[in-house]
Amino acid sequence: MARIRAPQFSGKFYPSAKKELQAEISRCFSDKKFGPGGRFEQSDSVIGGIVPHAGYFYSGACAANFYSLLPKDKFRTIVLLGTNHTGKGASLSIGPWEFWETPLGKVPLNVQLAERLSDSELFRQEPLSHFGEHSIEVQLPFLQTVLDRFSILPITVSAGSLGSLERAGKALAEIVGRKKTLFIASSDFNHYEGRPETERKDFFAIESALSLSPEKLLKNISEKDISMCGVLPSALLLQTLSEFGESRGELLKHHISGDVLASGNGNVGYASIAFFRK
């Protein structure tokens, strides 16, 4: 296994040249319509979030709403719970590379915690689910921009009952803990429908996420036929946060792809949600 995961989506979902990427991220943070409009209202109580993972053209500014909240020196470990779009590999898969590279530099894996999680036998370190998977990679340049020094636990979540997510959430809470840790789930919301349906379904999904109940989120996504690609990582995030006691969620921004570029009935919903310690 190579020590370094080279970027697989630079030049596609985000610029491949360092200066262009920095300019694009700056645009996302300064965007007044979809982003935080240049405001950095850092929060000492933020413990997690749900952020979109489309190309920065579509959802980068939306994601920036969450990243603008992060104090630059508070977090040392970022748990990135990603979608598994390919369906390959383990159901709870930790990317095994020692470093994840982006045009902004290399991000280290928290090797010690990755090994301890693997010892729990719920998680596996394996590469397959991370090949051709962009949901974690596209978050890294934002983290590299707003944080000083950090390591990551990149985990794709692709299958599991409520019971298995409960076990995984308990393991994350016990082994990783919340001290200097930030938990991020990477997910877009409803996919490829017209505006009214997209907004209606996104509302149910967002409301469910804000309830902090993984059970309610999974139930509503299924019953309302919502195609939320990161429902499982989001449910695992909620389960993990619930292990830490009371928290509250806040919707920072929601828009759909048609707000950026008209696409008829092919809209995708994007939301930036933050969770705070109560």
Partner: protein, 33 residues
């Protein structure tokens, strides 16, 4: 929370005004999600 949903924020169409001068990316459909 509803006030943040897009329709009620009057996001009604294609007006991504402050994107770079390059405009729409060539691979726009592939990076929707």
């Amino acid at each position: 929370m509803r006030a943040l949903l897009s329709s009620e924020n009057n996001y009604k169409g294609n007006y991504y005004q402050n994107y770079s001068e390059k405009g729409e990316p060539e691979n726009a459909p592939e990076i929707l999600a």
